[in-house]
Symmetry: C2
Subunit: 341 residues, 2 copies
DNA sequence: TTGTAGGCGTTATCAC
DNA sequence: GTGATAACGCCTACAA
């Protein structure tokens, strides 16, 4: 029942505590035989180190704090779970808090985490990254922070982000190549860096293929299915439906598709769709939803690695990792009228 | 930068460390004025307690371990996130591991967690609860364990479970009342307690309404969409389709629906569906999927509460909490041919 | 009511 | 090579 400590091992062998500690930590200044004897008896006695004591002694909590905007979506919940996984297999623990897209709550959470002596922070900031100045201050004080996902490539801090522009370009170009003539983009919140980047990729593809202004539109939405539905309602009301949509995420796409179906439209015959940040749902709906898959595990693992590097190697070097995804074409964006095979 | 400690506060006020400790912990044996003075200066100096030192001194890690069978599904990822949330707002942390439905891995994880000195465990065991004897042993040693979700109501330990029988009964009865004549159940793995309970509720409803054996069937499946699809393939091949399915979960239902649609069947006109353990998807697919909603936050919160009670009050009383859900009827199980309004 | 001293389990800095 | 000993920050008898 009671945990055996190095003291117990020391007593049993009539050696000092320090020798046991040395043996256990593979320190050089100890005789081979004593080390092996100590290791063996420690093993036999069922000794396991007490992490808390270690942490106190090392003045490290081995706890990482993470703040994400929300935890309802498949994306962030998977990222967080992956982060847990990565950190715990590296001897760290994770405390997650979510800011509910609210900058004040985000700041409060970050402060709580710092108060709880986390060794570092991983942050996916809310729309607009409102707490920038606080973070810059902390970074200046050499507090380890890594940003994730919701931050632009120019942001002056270590970060891991997704190449939104590139993949939004590909997604849009795919629609163009499918011969869709009028393409609308349901964009998410204007203030979000990811929105800006995806809009940029969208426009870049249109420009490349010389699509005139009358043939595309960017419509600001939220990030949930309801907001996809609302956008469609408006467009139907205004008799302004395109023949293809590129959506900021799968939820918005699915909401939009649902509303169109309810109104008697067919997907992709009447209106085609491509989503983003692929969810499990993409393959289960009819028609299957084309989407851009983002690597959740990779995102978490990279952010974790960057942070642990900062913590352990005491680097101040700012590193930016840009992740790639994959474009998964499914039936929702295949033009039956197109000649392309 | 450097954290201020009780020592610093004590030095500043020329009082002893113990007085500061007493004041901070609202102990009785201290003069009001000194307490207030101490509290005020501590506040002013920006003192925050070092949890690690506290934990070491109290011989408690304030860490809870959780082992769940998987983390890919919406259900368990939400439960785990809710657990995190509940525990951290009660001063505890959570380490989650998943067993991938593998009993050996489950045991290994549990042992790892115990070695890391968690104060207690929350376990959703794999199919068949293969590590029962190990857990019973631990419980006998007064190690705090609470079970969750994957365990039968007779299991001799504190637990929080869902009333599968009851809600499977309701789901089935709903199909019967919709005048569906032939009803099949895609059941999940036979060995799972939840499967058994849901099968029991299914049969109970059939019995109550005197449905003869020829008009129902129980088909063992897995828990994923693929397995729902496979089941349907077999049934189509054997020309053995019922007019309604009750499925062990939404994923199986969605897979099955997809396969049926691909083969030209209409839902619910040709075949009706009701799922279980409702997911976000239920409202987004066409037709919307009827399902039984299970409370994820409540499940986590209750399990957390039970465990903290055991840890803090040193109760040995075995408590079982049975949670209820709600039956959400949507279009996938509304019989257009039925006369019921 | 307050202070002293020892302990929680480790690590690390000294001597020897 | 090895063993005392202090320190990490906090709690708690016990003594004053």
């Amino acid at each position: 029942m009671k945990h055996v400590t190095i003291k117990d091992v020391a007593k049993k062998l009539n050696v000092s505590i320090s020798s046991v500690s040395r043996a256990l930590n593979n320190k050089p200044d100890i005789k081979k035989e004593t080390r092996e004897l100590i290791l063996k008896t420690a093993e036999d006695m069922g000794y396991t180190p007490n992490p808390i004591a270690k942490h106190l002694s090392e003045r490290k909590s081995y706890i990482i704090g993470a703040v994400v905007p929300e935890l309802m979506s498949e994306y962030f919940s998977q990222v967080v779970i992956a982060l847990q996984d990565f950190l715990s297999s590296n001897g760290y623990q994770l405390i997650v808090m979510h800011s509910d897209e609210n900058p004040e709550l985000e700041l409060k959470n970050v402060k709580t985490l710092i108060r709880n002596m986390v060794d570092g922070l991983i942050i996916a900031p809310v729309v607009g990254n409102m707490n920038k100045s606080f973070y810059l201050e902390k970074q200046k004080q050499d507090f380890p922070i890594v940003f994730m996902s919701r931050v632009s490539s120019s942001y002056p801090a270590s970060k891991v982000i997704f190449n939104n522009t590139k993949w939004s370009f590909f997604a849009t170009e795919h629609l163009i190549r499918q011969n869709y003539k009028k393409i609308y983009h349901l964009s998410g919140y204007k203030g979000m860096s990811v929105t800006k980047e995806r809009v940029y990729g969208f426009e870049k593809a249109l420009k490349k293929h010389k699509i005139p202004k009358e043939r595309y539109k960017i419509i600001e939405t939220g990030l949930n299915a309801e907001e996809g539905m609302e956008a469609i309602e408006d467009l139907i009301f205004n008799h302004d439906l395109p023949d293809a949509f590129f959506c900021v995420n799968d939820m918005v796409a699915l909401g939009a598709i649902k509303k169109l179906k309810e109104n008697g439209y067919k997907v992709p015959e009447d209106v085609a769709f491509i989503g983003f940040t692929e969810t499990l749902m993409a393959e289960l709906v009819t028609p299957q939803l084309s989407s851009v898959k983002q690597p959740t595990y990779k995102m978490a693992e990279t952010a974790g690695k960057l942070l642990l590097e900062i913590i352990n190697d005491n680097t101040t070097e700012v590193k930016t990792v840009v992740l790639n995804g994959e474009l998964n074409i499914r039936n929702s964006s295949i033009n039956p009228k197109s000649n392309i095979l």
